[in-house]
Amino acid sequence: MEDERLAIGGIKLSPSLVLFRWDAFDPEALESCFERLGANRINLPVVWIDTSANVSSARFCIDAGESEQALPILQAFGDIQPIARVVALSVYPFGKRLTLLGRVLQAFAESRLAIHAVVSSLASIVVLGDDTQREACVEALLCHLRLPENHAPFEPEFRVRYQERS
């Protein structure tokens, strides 16, 4: 029987992240918030900021291990809401394939899994799913996407931490 799944090169899973949302933000306040996060060496692995609609809206992720450090900074801005612990699943290559976006939406919706966000990058499509459902997210994707032989979804075994030279 023919395998109708879409061929991909791989799926990479992030560590646990915390997704935050800030609606109707003031752009200067958002910049100030991100400045303070950066000054505290807190990375934002996924960011989505939309001011094109009537109400501006931002989503951003912080590594769960750094979220406690970030909370006092975020709370100073009042309207920033933690949404969920999420996992970022990077599906590659994107290859400007709208079909791939369709399969991702279909996979999550048919399995009744939350889709917090999907964004394209140069190489991949990154999907934010519930971290508590990370195995189910992978299973759902693999119902629609086909990895190369002897490949499996993976989590990097090392992390890169950025420091500035003092």
Binding site: F34, N43, K96, H116, S121, V126, R159
Partner: protein, 170 residues
């Protein structure tokens, strides 16, 4: 295991700044119950590779609706375009269309480095620019600006970012 990467560049290095002018930003707010159908529509549409697509994003709202945005070349919005035909069939609570310019770049370990998105915001704010859509994922930064402002944005970004001269698309 943790690897420490130490950067001492006074200006953040990138692999090149790329610009696309006069794109079209299409947005639709999809009702939650339509997500699977939209997925099937796009999955079965034969959209294997579409160079006219520059950026795609989806973000969920608190009511479960999805805001789907696509920055595309103008050709993709023409009546003979397969993309246009599929886009028209996507059910929407709300939709919008506008002209935009795109700047995008990537750099070493951008996904792991703090301060990248703030540097983008700061540079653009100094030039009086607010991105219509800013997406950072993996090592990529995508910035949609109002049409006609790509050059101003590119110049502004040179305050914090250094691009190899042969990798800058004019």
């Amino acid at each position: 295991m943790e690897t420490i990467a130490i950067y001492w560049e006074p200006i953040i290095k990138t692999y090149g700044l790329f610009r696309s002018r006069d794109l079209v930003l299409l947005s639709k707010v999809i009702p939650p119950e339509a997500t699977a159908d939209v997925g099937r529509l796009l999955a079965k549409g034969g959209f294997e590779r579409q160079p006219e697509i520059a950026l795609i994003s989806v973000a969920a709202d608190s009511d479960g609706s999805l805001r789907l945005s696509a920055a595309v070349l103008p050709d993709a919005t023409g009546p003979s375009s397969a993309f246009h035909a599929a886009w028209k069939r996507i059910p929407a609570i709300d939709e919008a269309i506008r002209s935009v310019d795109l700047l995008y770049f990537q750099g070493p370990h951008f996904g792991d480095r703090f301060g990248i998105v703030h540097a983008v915001q700061r540079d653009l704010a100094r030039a009086g620019l607010v991105p219509l859509l800013l997406v950072c994922a993996a090592s990529s930064v995508y910035i949609l600006l109002p049409s006609g402002t790509a050059d101003r944005g590119g110049t502004a970004l040179s305050c914090s970012f250094q691009h190899p001269p042969d990798a800058c698309v004019p």
